[in-house]
Each structure stands twice: as C-alpha cells, then as structure tokens.
C-alpha cells in the first residue's frame, strides 16, 4: 500500500544487507542492527496512528480476508442458496445457511474474488439488482424459519451500470432495507472490509454492528466525495478524514457496537487472529440477542434506527 512505501524500502535494504556474508565484513553487523532498529521504529510509528485514508487502503487490500474466508474458517455445514427467482444469480452476493459453533444461521455477504477471474465473475464485489433481490429472499426465508442473520460487508458499493439502472438498482436496495428492518430474527452485521454506501447498507444494519479495526463504512467513497467537492479524486485523504468512516468513528457516532482488533498492518498479516476476534464478537452478539423475545426485535431495531441523526432545534 502507498503509505507503506518507506517501510518497504527500508525492509528491502535490510534484506539485501542480510544477504551478504557478515563474517567477511564485520562492520556490516552494526549497520544491520541499526537498520533493524529503524525498521522496528518505523513499523511502530507507521501503524500506530493510521489515518482514515490509510485504513481505507488496508480495508481494500487484495489479500485481506474476505467473506469466503470467514465462511470457511468460522462456519460449518455451509449451504449456498442461489438466485433471486426473478432474473439471475449474482455471484457478488453470498446468500446461504451455515452453522456457527452449533448455532444455525442465515448468512449474507458481499463477495470479492481471490483472483482476476473470480473478481470478474463477482463483479469485484459490487452487486447488481439480482444480488440485492437474492439477499431479500434470504431475509424472508430467515424470518420465516427463525434463523438469525449474519451479514458480512465488503463492497465498494452497488454497481453503477447501465443495465443495473434498467433493472431497478434503487428499488432493489430499497426493498432490501424494508425487508431487513422487519425480520423477526436477530441481525448481526460485521464490517470486514469496505462498507460502500447503499450497496453495503442494503445488508448492513441490524441489531448489532461489529466493525473490524480497519474496516470502513461510508456514505460515499472518499474519492467520489473529493471529486464532487474539489473536482480532484486525489484529495481522498482529506475527505476520508472528514467523512468519519472508520470503526472508531462509527463507535463514537453510536452506530457500531464492537470493534475487532487487527494485527499491526491489517488483517492480512495474521488472518487467524482476526477470525478468532470475529468468532468471539459474533458469539457474544448472537448470545445476547438469543435472550431477547424475537417478536420485539423489529421494534427495538426500529428504535435503534430511530435514534440515528443529529438535529438542531429538535
């Protein structure tokens, strides 16, 4: 990632020095030791106070664990359910049934690919209307059969294509929002990477919101915000700070309930740690919600939404 470049350079230099035979050039040993200390220092400062824009970059890192990884690591007996029963099956949206530590749940998730081929099939994780309509179908199924919903957010946003407008992208999202608000089962959302606007929100609110430390959730992408405000996408660093889109921001705004810590440098540096964190956070959330009378869930979810927003003269 861009902000890691100084570290990358230093680490490169260190690696090439270590390649040499120190016994022949004893003065190198000191140089290596100094360089190692510098790398450690830079490591500390670089990751200690990540800017929002740096976190956005980590959230988008291609090696970051994805919905598929969580499905594989956290769940057993996964059954994918395909299709919207109307037009198509959108591979950018996962919908299915799965078991989390003995608990049977319905799972939704934006789905990025691990390679170019997969990414093309999955439209780089940006759903078409069919993806949202499939998700809506799963919401109704989960509601009918009393399955808690676990939703993984990782999308740059709903796809802004021509055919998507033709087939009612806006309506598909709106129907998802309405359906999700009314399900009589617990809904736990986990922001694992990108949380891009309406395309994330369509499966992205509920009774609990868990955010990974470097995941973001935003009303608009920092780049597009910068383009609109400054006609310059390169000012995304500035706008990403203004938009208050990090996990910590969301907690402060009262929108997120828990933050799962990531290893230094981002989840891809130690996926196992993050899987464990998400497993624990999901377990806690589902456990606390299992005690609630399900008939009251839509109402308390509504009250939760109802409180959001800041108003003067209210």
């Amino acid at each position: 990632m861009e902000f890691e470049r100084p570290l990358d350079e230093l680490e490169g230099k260190l690696a090439s020095l270590k390649h040499l035979d120190v016994s022949e050039q004893p003065e190198l040993a000191a140089e290596i030791a100094e360089l190692e200390a510098e790398v450690a220092r830079l490591h500390e400062t670089l990751y200690a106070e990540l800017t929002p824009w740096e976190r956005v970059q980590i959230a988008r890192h291609p090696e970051r664990p994805k919905t598929d990884d969580y499905l594989q690591e956290l769940f057993t007996d996964v059954v994918e359910l395909h299709g919207d029963r109307l037009f198509g099956d959108d591979e950018s949206m996962f919908a299915g049934l799965a078991t989390l530590q003995g608990r049977r749940v319905a799972v939704l998730g934006h789905r990025k690919g691990k390679n170019t081929n997969e990414n093309i099939r999955r439209n780089f994780g940006s759903p078409h209307p069919e993806g949202f309509r499939k998700a809506e179908r799963l919401m109704h199924l989960a509601d009918r059969f009393g399955l808690p919903i676990v939703s993984f957010l990782d999308t740059a946003g709903a796809y802004p294509g021509l055919d998507d407008e033709d087939r009612g992208q806006a309506l598909a999202i709106a129907e998802c929002l309405a359906a999700l608000s009314a399900v009589r089962v617990p809904v736990v959302v986990v922001g694992i990477g990108e949380g891009g606007s309406g395309g994330a929100l369509a499966i992205g609110f509920g009774d609990r919101l868990i955010m990974l430390e470097n995941a973001y959730y935003s009303v608009i992408s920092p780049e597009m915000c910068a383009t609109i405000l400054h006609k310059d996408a390169r000012r995304a660093s500035e706008t990403s700070a203004c938009l208050q889109l990090t996990a910590d921001d969301l907690v402060r705004l009262g929108l997120a309930d828990a933050v799962v810590a990531e290893p230094r440098g981002g989840a891809h540096h130690d996926p196992a740690m993050v899987f464990e964190g998400v497993r624990t956070a999901l377990g806690t959330a589902l456990e606390s919600l299992s005690a609630v009378d399900r008939a009251t869930l839509p109402d308390s979810r509504y009250q939760r939404l109802r409180r959001i927003g800041e108003i003067a003269g209210g």
């Binding site: 709903a158 796809y159 802004p160 294509g161 021509l162 998507d164 407008e165 033709d166 087939r167 009612g168 992208q169 806006a170 309506l171 999202i173 709106a174 129907e175 929002l177 309405a178 359906a179 999700l180 608000s181 009314a182 606007s197 309406g198 929100l201 609110f205 959730y217 935003s218 009303v219 608009i220 597009m224 915000c225 910068a226 609109i228 405000l229 400054h230 000012r235 500035e238 706008t239 203004c242 938009l243 208050q244 889109l245 921001d249 969301l250 705004l253 929108l255 979810r301 509504y302 939404l305 109802r306 959001i308 927003g309 800041e310 108003i311 003067a312 003269g313 209210g314």
Partner: protein, 290 residues
Amino acid sequence: MPISDWFKAREQRKYTTPTEASTPSDVPDGVWVRCEGCKRTLYMGDLERELMVCPSCGRHHDLAAPERLALLVDEGTFEEVDAHLRSADPLEFTSGKVYSEQVTAAEERTGLNEAIVCGRAAIGGRRAIVGVMDFRFIGASMGSVVGEKVTRAFELALAERTPLVLVTASGGARMQEGMLSLMQMAKTAAAAARLASAGVPYVVVLTNPTMGGVTASFATLGDVLIAEPGALIGFAGPRLVEQTIRKSLPKGFQTSEFLLEHGMIDMVVDRRELKDRVALLLSYLAAGDE
C-alpha cells in the same frame, strides 16, 4: 414556518407560486424566461398559468416546495409539522465549503429550514399527510433532518391512519453528515415498511431529479409511484454510469418514461393533472377504511 408565512415570504419575493402571475426573484425583468426544454422564450405569466409546464414542449420546470404545495393541496388546508427541525453539523464537516455555513446560506436563499416541508393537508377534500422536497436546499440531499422529518411523516400517517403523499426531489444522501446520512435510508425505509404493514396508503410523486439514497430508500417504497414527465430518476448519477460503461448513455436514460417502460413506476402524470390523480388514487386506497 406556517403556511401563512410563506405567503408573506412570497410577497418578499422569496417564492413564486405558479398559480398567480407574480414576478419571481430569479427572473431579472420578470417578464420573459427561456424554457430549459425547447429553448423558446416564454412569457412568465403563461408559464406560471401552466404550473411551470412549458406550453410549447411540455417541459416540467422544477418547483420550490411552496409552489408544489400550492398546486397539490387544497387552499388553506396545509398545517405544517416539525417546522422547527434544523440541521446540526455533527461531523463538523469542512472539506470544501463549511457545512454549517452551507446550511445557513440555503436557509436564507430558500426561506426554508430544510429540504423538506411536511404537514397535514387535504387533497381534493381528502385528508393526507404531505411532504414536499425542495431541490434548492443543498440539492434536497437527505441528512439527519430530512430523514427525521420523513420518518415522522410516516409515523404521523400511521398514528392518524391517514394516507401519506410524498413529493420527492433529491440528489441523494447528504455526504456532509457522513454515516448519519446513510443511515437515514434505513430509518426511512423501516418507517415505510411499518406503514405498509399497517395498510395505510402511501403515494409517491417522483419529480426532477430524484437520485441516489432517496430513490434507494423511501421514495420507491410507495404503494403507487407517480413520476412527473421527463424527471431524472435513478440510483447512480448519469455521469458515473457513463464512466462505468464507457459508452454514451441511450437517449432518455433514467427519465420517468424510461422507468415506466422498465416497469419501475406506475404512471407518468402531467403536473396539471397531478392533484386530481392523487386525489383519485387516495379515494381508491382509502376505500377499505371508509
């Protein structure tokens, strides 16, 4: 602001109403204007008599909230609610313009407190909760206040079991309120779902332009979706779509007529017939309660 103040405001030339031949503030000499559709020069009085619909090409020009109310509700029946709600600046957003200053400027320019005006009214003699958006107010984007007022309108309609009529116009979510703005989509959609499950009618009039987060939430959840002719309605902005597909857009893309053809709205209604049509629809949808 109660409706009486609007008429005062209009006298102060902050508003025009298309029902009277007045001289709106943004027309220099007040007599001739150029139609944005056919580029013909029109006498403002003629345009206003036609409710700002060009008599030559049918172009529906944008209306301010008071103008919209004047043509939609029965005269003297509108009682505003939640007029006191004003936008805070929760993020202290300063990239580009300072948000709080933008709000103040919009208030002064429009005489409104926010981008939507809501209240009780009668339409063709039928009681309704009515909300109309005003694009002049920061592109009628939906921040906390718009979301809250829309939600309260749903709740009022539910509490009084009175049909809700919303006239939308919006550029989308108000990015200066960040995630608080995005979440208004979920909040208003949830309120719409509650009204729907209670069987209280909800009619939407989509006007030019209705885009982004508003189209993707409460604006398309109506029992009946009406659009004005030629209105731009969609999710993604046309320029973004064009960049995405790297082709030029087909003619009429994202217009009301395009949406009708693609099955997304119930009807396209000429503004001059809008009030009658809404009143007729309410007579059907409220039939069960009568």
